[in-house]
């Protein structure tokens, strides 16, 4: 490691404080006040705007030989479809993991 112990601890503390301030930001500053309607309208879409983008690169990741994993992609599609259809987390998880394990056992 090309950093001194002091530098490493400095990075840990700055990253920790910075990350905490990011997480606390709106919860802390706005508190109980009501945000304007246009802001709330955008914020209603935060989960569906962040989480699919967060997982898409994981699903479509290439392995060492440059190949995507078609079984993982099918498992992700099964999760999304069943989760949306059954309106719950567990049906989606079961569908996705079952698809992944069964197809990997078959092929």
């Amino acid at each position: 490691m090309s950093y001194s112990d002091g530098q490493i601890w400095l990075m840990i503390v700055i990253m920790g404080v910075g990350t905490y301030l990011i997480r606390f930001s709106f919860l802390g500053l706005i508190g109980n006040r009501k945000m304007p309607e246009w802001a709330l309208r955008h914020l209603r879409y935060t989960p569906v705007a962040v989480l699919p983008g967060l997982v898409a690169p994981l699903v479509l990741a290439k392995d060492a030989s440059g190949q995507m994993d078609p079984i993982l992609i099918l498992a992700a599609i099964a999760t999304g479809t069943v989760g949306w259809w059954r309106k719950g987390m567990f049906p989606g998880i079961i569908a996705g993991i079952a698809t992944f394990l069964i197809l990997n056992a078959l092929f």
Partner: protein, 233 residues
Amino acid sequence: MPSTISKSAFVSGFWAGLPFIAVGVPFSLFFGIIATEAGLSVAQAMGFTIVVIAGASQFTAVQLMIEAVPVWSVLAAALAVNLRMAMYSASLQPHIGAAPLWQRMLCAYINFDASYAISMARYEQDPPMSVSEKVGYFLGSVSLMTPLWFLGTYFGAVFGESFLGSFDVTFAMPILFLALVAPMVKTLAHLAAAVTSVVATLALSFMPSGTGLLVAALLAMIVGAEIERRRGR
């Protein structure tokens, strides 16, 4: 102002969070392993895990430290990876913003992907929850994962690779998050936002650490909100 945290909601959150343990624990073991292999001490690995408590940015920081880049660029990259949590903070505000300051400070410490996704999935369902129930659910959702995350890093750092063996559950992570987000897609506006998020993140994958996702998420929020404004909810 509600000052007590709903215990029954905490318990419901606890159960909803259990599947995420299966992914969180190996992830934390792995962090402990690569952090010490990169040359960090056990105390420093634990420092990252307890003080920063954000998996993706911890991996980013260690990876860049292996590459020996300047301190400021390690910090910039790692913090950029965490900027999405400002969106989580804003998105949680209408739900738990009315809670007492100490509760909001506690929630902020554990405001990460899993707690946010698990809780929002519940907040958007019926029956509606009170503020103290929402806080309880949020804290409950990662009440087991957080100490296991610390413990996993410790075991990974102390025992190294021998601990992990051939146990690979990385495939489960996207599946867990997709399973949470799929039921949230209730309208055309949600669907359009989700599709925008995926397409734009992939198109912007050339952007440095996490910033492409931020731009993609903002675009997706605008698409969702604009469709809602034109069509009504």
